[in-house]
Each structure stands twice: as structure tokens, then as C-alpha cells.
């Protein structure tokens, strides 16, 4: 028998590039698919959510101000670092989702490849979503996509890693910052991802991860004046989705409503998610001598 006792990890939140505990001091027990105790995760509070919004807002300007080439390299770097830690992710996903090692490996493959896919989009978004506009007059007119700003997302409950990556990547690639609430019952892969984000040249605050209850923090995030858009992909409860949509109207926050049926995250994503979190700015300039 191996005499050495393993060193366990304390799972904390990820806010502003740091790993704080919940200011509330609360935690909750996370179990594997069979009910065996895995770890205590932080149970984030509304105050943590507000801190995360502040961190996201402070980070967003510089992240958008970076060149698209730079953002693409940062996303690609996330894939590189994940690849180097794939054993850890495979174990986390297998434990969290109660799936075989082989299936967990496939989820990790897809998650890494998804970062690569979105990394390549950073400097193509404007070319695909933007336009030059042939107006009837002596003006040069063009339209460019710009990030909506700060996005609060509820990640899928079942797909603990691939679903999370598939929600976060399209939000940040265009220059948004986000606050994401990962799966409540399977939160540990999200914190493993946070450790990758923290070491991938991603500026602190661009992604903030709050383990905890969407029902507790969601409506507050929805009505927060500094949150510009919501992604309700992971909200399974129709009542909560409606409550958040209603609260969002207070400051005309954009809302990506929950999908009608659970998405197959293994499929190649289209542009819909990425496009939902950009605004179009149209610029007019006279032409003349």
C-alpha cells in the first residue's frame, strides 16, 4: 500500500485573476456521480457576484483594447496549457460526470479544440460580421462588431467542462469580459479551468468563475446596471429564466435565452453565440476634396 497521503486541493472562486474564498465564508459539499464526497466548493454570495462584476468591468476595456491577434494568441495559449494538464482534466471530468476515462478524454479533447477554434475567430469576426455600406451619398460608411461589454453567464449543469468552455470562449473572444456560474453539482472542473486561465496570459478579471447557485446570484446579476448581457444557456428552471429576463429589462440588458433542447456540445458551434455578444457600430465619414 502507498504510504503517502495525497495533498488535496482547496477549491475557491476565481475573481479578478485571484482565487478568493467566498466573502460569506460559505462552502458546499461536492460529490461524485455515486455520491462520494469529493471536495468542499465555495458557495459564492451576491457580494461575490458584485465583486466579480467590478473585476470584469475593470478588465474589459484593456481586453478589448488589445489587438485581435493578441486575443487570439491568449485563447490559443489556454488550449496549450490545458493540453499540458490534460490528465488532471480527464480525472476531474470523469469524477464529476461519472463517465469512463475514455469518454472523459474525449470531452477534454473537444474542450481544448474548442479554444483553438475560437482563438482563430478573434481576428476574423470583424471581417465576417462587419461590412462596408454602399450608402446613396458621398460618405464612406463601415460597420464593425464591438463587444457588448460585461456578460453574466450560467454554464450548463451537465457538461461540466466542454459546456463551460463552449459558453465562455465565444463571449471573451470578441473582447467581452464575463462572470460565469458553472455547474452547481459538478463545479470542480471549472476551478481546474480557472487555474489554466490564471496561467495563460489572460488578464485578470476577463473571466470570473463563481461556484454556487444560479438561483441566488442570477437575478442580481440580471438587474445589475453594469452587466450588459446575460447568457442563460445553463438555466434549466423556466421560472428562474423568466425572472432573470424580467430583471434584465431594468437596464435593457441583452438576454440569450435558454436553448429549447439541451445542445450537443460535441457539435461544431456556429457563430450564433459569438454574434449574440457583439454590437454593431456604424461609422460615417464624408468623402470629398
Amino acid at each position: 500500500m502507498d504510504a503517502r497521503l495525497e495533498v488535496r486541493k482547496t477549491y475557491k472562486l476565481f475573481v479578478g485573476g485571484a482565487f478568493p474564498r467566498s466573502e460569506s465564508g460559505r462552502t458546499y459539499a461536492v460529490t461524485d456521480a455515486k455520491g462520494k464526497f469529493l471536495a468542499n466548493a465555495s458557495l459564492a454570495s451576491r457580494k461575490d457576484a458584485r465583486d466579480a462584476v467590478r473585476a470584469a468591468r475593470s478588465a474589459q476595456g484593456a481586453w478589448w483594447g488589445a489587438t485581435a491577434y493578441n486575443r487570439g494568441q491568449v485563447l490559443y495559449r489556454i488550449a496549450e496549457v490545458m493540453e499540458g494538464r490534460r490528465a488532471q482534466f480527464e480525472e476531474e471530468v470523469a469524477r464529476a460526470e461519472g463517465i469512463s476515462a475514455r469518454r472523459a478524454a474525449s470531452q477534454v479533447d473537444l474542450s481544448i479544440d474548442r479554444w483553438v477554434w475560437y482563438a482563430g475567430w478573434s481576428d476574423k469576426i470583424a471581417q465576417v460580421l462587419g461590412s462596408s455600406n454602399p450608402v446613396a451619398g458621398p460618405y464612406f460608411t463601415f460597420s464593425v462588431p464591438e463587444p457588448t461589454g460585461v456578460v453574466a453567464a450560467i454554464a450548463p449543469e451537465r457538461s461540466s467542462l466542454l459546456g463551460l468552455v463552449s459558453v465562455v470562449a465565444p463571449i471573451i473572444v470578441s473582447g467581452n469580459a464575463c462572470i460565469v456560474i458553472p455547474s452547481l453539482s459538478r463545479p470542480l472542473p471549472a476551478i481546474a479551468l480557472a487555474e489554466v486561465l490564471a496561467t495563460s496570459d489572460l488578464p485578470g478579471g476577463v473571466v470570473n468563475i463563481l461556484t454556487g447557485r444560479a438561483a441566488e446570484m442570477g437575478p442580481w446579476l440580471a438587474s445589475h446596471a453594469d452587466v450588459n448581457a446575460l447568457d442563460l444557456t445553463g438555466v434549466d428552471d423556466d421560472g428562474l429564466a423568466t425572472e432573470m429576463e424580467f430583471a434584465a429589462a431594468e437596464t435593457i440588458t441583452r438576454v440569450l435565452v435558454p436553448p429549447r433542447k439541451a445542445p450537443d456540445w460535441a457539435e461544431q458551434p456556429g457563430l450564433d453565440r459569438l454574434r449574440f455578444f457583439v454590437e454593431t457600430t456604424t461609422v460615417w465619414h464624408p468623402i470629398g476634396v
Partner: protein, 477 residues
């Protein structure tokens, strides 16, 4: 020797206003089931122009059912190339009847005939012409080709026919059928448009027009068989609509209020900038959601710009909207004038300095003189709230960073203007201003090929251009 303008009124004889109008449902004008009537009034004379129907919930239901049937049986089965031809026909009919529509618009809205003739009506026709071409080319636009179904559309009174065109043209091009509610105070060009749909032989039920007030709009927005809601109007009503739509999975686009900054740098061509500032806020009596209602002028040229501005405003001609030489028409309604007066009083009370152009206001009708407030701070209500009238709030700045910060210091984000001869600075500003439309060395330009719409509390979704098609196509499951 002074030259004066002789009266140059446009003839009213080109319009034929019926004494009363029903609702346009399923291709014909019908009497209401549970509706009452109200009068629409010429805001320049307070003369009642016609009696219009206030559609009740049963009427709205009837219109939605007509739109649903038309969608199912006709419009969704028609090839895009045929839809396109209907839109081209409508564009041509608007062009053919443009003089009549311009006079009608001016009578019902109070805007100068010069503007309805040169801006509203030609742009409305252009909007149909532009979108006609998309109807059979949607697969190239990148948003799929699936229409929503029935679109419920509610539009404001500031550009009645133009806003109708912004709503109906893309909706039909994308394969939707529509129920549209024009504003309570400006229903006449929408009713004339109903006649244009008949002249175009548009299949019955593809376009339905229900007149009425906010209650009619609410019934339309809340109707369970409406798949897509599109609204242009105030942020307050937009908020109510977003709440009403919560949890319904209806598509929603909102084009709401604004408090645009028009930013004048010291190197700007100042005469042009002053013209642009005047056009920015006094075009259409300031009843423009993207109006440049905050002038941010660089401190070093502030006095010069203000002097020129007041000189220019003193030459504006306010009066009979049908006169071809009129620059400033009537305020659209007594309610709107009361709203303007309330905010202007707040400007006085909060310590800003008011200046109004010295012009005689006609005795009848609702009017407000072009007005400029100086000594305005960012905390003043007149610098924060949308006035939707001919009132300009002037603030100053020293550096480009300060200009950006002040311009963005608003919950709105619809438009902005930048006046400078330095291209690098203009583009630098454009990338930092949080606004959906940025006019550089121009203002209040519109074109069906150029996407329009806001950030933040100015709403979401775009109208016009390829990007505007997304508002009328289902992009997710």
C-alpha cells in the same frame, strides 16, 4: 435692403383624407369589433384631420390571426424572388405617391414639408427597394433563411412612414408577415400605406395595420401568437415590452432613446460643425432618438462656436410646416410640448443658462423655439434625460479623453458625432465611443444599407444593412 421670404405653401390638394378610417386587416379596411375611435390632429393648427379606430384586444387578435393565416398559406410558401417583386412594387408605389405622402406626413406630424419631402418619403421608398433585393438572397447574408412567422411591430410618431418602412421592409423580405401599430398621433401615412399594399396586390393578411394607443400596442406585444416583437420608441416603454416578453421566447428588438454627444474639436471646420450641430438637434424639431442633444465643444473654441450657433439659429424659420421655406415645424402633441417644457424648467432650476432664438410662435398649434442651454453640468437633468425636442445642452471639454468620458457618461448609446479634420483622432474617438452610429463631420445621415441601432439602454438589434436582417430571422433552435 432686406430680402424676405414670400410664403411658399405646398398644396394640400394632393391629399384626400377620409373622414374616418377602420383597421386594415386581411387586405381590407374593417370596422372594429371592440374598438372605439379617436381623432388625429394637425399639430400645427390643432385641426382634427380624421377619425381613427382604436383597436381593442379582439381586433388585435383578428389581425394576428390574419397574419398567421397569410404566413402559413401564402407568404412562407412563396419563393423569395416573388416576395422581392412585391417589395419592389411597394417601393415604386411610394415613389409614385411621394408628394401625397409627404404632405400627409407633414399634416399629421407637424414636420417641415422640406424634411418629409426630401428625407422621410425618399428614404422609406429606398428602404423597400434595398430590402426587396435581399428577399431572394438571404442565404448569402449569414443568418439562415428561417423567418419567425408573425411580427408584431410598434412604431413612434417622429418619422411615421419611415419607421414603418424600417419595420415592414426587412420583416417581409425575410418572409415574415406583420401586424403594425402606428403611433397614436400619426396614423395617417400608415393607413395610406395600407392602400399602397392593396394597389400592389399584396396578398391579404401579409401586412395588417391596427391603429390605437398604448393599450393597443400592449395587446399586440402580449399576443401569444406573435413570434417576434419589434419596437421603436422610448426607453421606458421598451423596458415594459422587454418585461412583457420575458419567458415567452418571442424574438425582440428594441430601438429606444438616446442622448447623443456631438463633439466639436478645435481643429474642426467650424462653419460646417455649426451646421452639423444645428442639423443634429433641430432637425425634425429634435424629435429624433439619435439627435445630437449634447454639444461637447472643446474649451478653446467654445465661445466662437456658441456665437456662430446662436447667429445661425436666429436665421431659422419656424412656422407653417407646409411652407417650403420652413426649417422648424410644430411639436407633435401637447403632451410632448409639456414634456419639453418640464425639462426646460428643470434646466432653469438647476442653474443652466437658457437662450432661445427670437422667433414668433404661431398662436394655434404646439410650438417650441430652438433653445440652447449653456453652463450645463453632467448631473443636470437636461444633460441626462432625453428631451426629444429642440433643446441643446452645451458642455465643454479640454482633452480627447475627457470628451470620450463625458460622451459615454450616459445610460444611452445610440449615436455620437465627431467634428475634427484629423482622421486619426476621429477613428480613435470612434473606437472608444459606446454608440451604435458615429457620424464624423456629418450628422443624422440615414441609409437602408447602413445598420442603425444602439448600445446599452438605447436598445438592441440593428435596422438596415445586412446586419439588420438578423432581427427577422430565427438564428437559434
Amino acid at each position: 435692403m432686406t430680402f424676405d421670404y414670400a410664403p411658399a405653401p405646398e398644396s394640400r390638394s394632393v391629399v384626400d383624407i377620409a373622414p374616418s378610417y377602420g383597421l386594415f386587416i386581411d387586405g381590407e379596411f374593417v370596422d372594429p369589433i371592440d374598438g372605439a375611435t379617436f381623432k388625429t390632429v394637425n399639430p400645427a393648427t390643432e385641426e382634427a384631420l380624421a377619425e381613427v379606430t382604436e383597436a381593442g384586444p379582439l381586433d388585435v387578435d383578428r389581425a394576428v390571426r390574419a397574419a398567421r393565416t397569410a404566413y402559413r398559406t401564402t407568404w412562407s410558401r412563396m419563393p423569395g424572388s416573388e416576395r422581392a417583386k412585391y417589395l419592389y412594387r411597394i417601393a415604386r408605389l411610394i415613389q409614385e405617391r411621394s408628394r401625397e405622402l409627404a404632405v400627409l406626413e407633414t399634416l399629421d406630424n407637424g414636420k417641415p414639408i422640406r424634411e418629409s419631402r426630401d428625407v422621410d418619403i425618399p428614404l422609406a421608398a429606398a428602404h423597400f427597394f434595398y430590402h426587396a433585393g435581399w428577399a431572394d438572397k438571404l442565404e448569402y447574408a449569414g443568418y439562415g433563411t428561417r423567418a419567425y412567422g408573425v411580427a408584431g411591430q410598434v412604431i413612434p410618431w417622429n418619422f411615421p412612414l419611415l419607421m414603418l418602412a424600417w419595420k415592414i421592409a426587412p420583416a417581409l423580405a425575410c418572409g415574415n408577415t406583420v401586424v403594425l401599430k402606428p403611433a397614436e398621433t400619426t396614423p395617417l401615412t400608415a393607413l395610406a400605406f395600407a392602400d399602397i399594399c392593396r394597389q400592389a396586390d399584396l396578398p391579404p393578411g401579409v401586412v395588417n395595420i391596427v391603429t390605437g394607443d398604448g393599450a393597443t400596442g400592449r395587446a399586440l406585444v402580449e399576443h401569444p401568437d406573435v413570434d417576434k416583437v419589434a419596437f421603436t420608441g422610448s426607453t421606458e416603454v421598451g423596458r415594459q415590452i422587454q418585461r412583457a416578453v420575458a419567458g415567452t421566447r418571442k424574438g425582440l428588438t428594441l430601438e429606444l432613446g438616446g442622448k447623443a454627444a456631438n463633439i466639436v474639436f478645435d481643429d474642426a471646420p467650424l462653419d460646417e460643425a455649426v451646421e452639423g450641430v444645428v442639423n443634429g438637434i433641430f432637425f425634425n424639431q429634435g424629435h429624433v432618438c439619435c439627435a445630437g442633444s449634447r454639444l461637447l465643444v472643446q474649451e478653446s473654441v467654445a465661445d466662437e462656436v456658441l456665437d456662430a450657433l446662436k447667429r445661425r439659429l436666429s436665421t431659422l424659420r419656424l412656422g407653417d410646416p407646409l411652407d417650403k421655406n420652413t426649417d422648424v415645424g410644430a411639436i407633435n402633441s401637447a403632451e410632448q410640448r409639456a414634456r419639453i417644457e418640464e425639462l426646460v424648467r428643470a434646466g432653469d432650476d438647476e442653474g443652466a443658462e437658457r437662450w432661445s432664438a427670437a422667433c414668433a410662435l404661431p398662436e394655434r398649434g404646439w410650438w417650441f423655439p430652438p433653445t440652447v442651454f449653456t453652463g450645463v453640468t453632467q448631473a443636470h437633468r437636461i444633460a441626462r434625460e432625453e428631451i426629444f425636442g429642440p433643446v441643446l445642452a452645451v458642455l465643454t471639454f479640454r482633452t480627447p479623453d475627457e470628451a470620450v468620458e463625458k460622451a459615454n457618461n450616459t445610460p444611452f448609446g445610440l449615436s455620437a458625432g465627431v467634428w475634427s479634420e484629423k482622421g486619426s483622432r476621429t477613428l480613435w474617438m470612434a473606437s472608444r465611443l459606446r454608440a451604435g452610429v458615429i457620424w464624423a463631420n456629418t450628422f443624422n445621415r440615414f441609409d437602408p444599407a447602413a445598420p442603425f441601432g444602439g448600445y446599452k439602454e438605447s436598445g438592441f438589434g440593428r435596422e438596415g444593412g445586412r446586419q439588420g436582417l438578423a432581427a427577422y430571422l430565427r438564428t437559434e433552435g
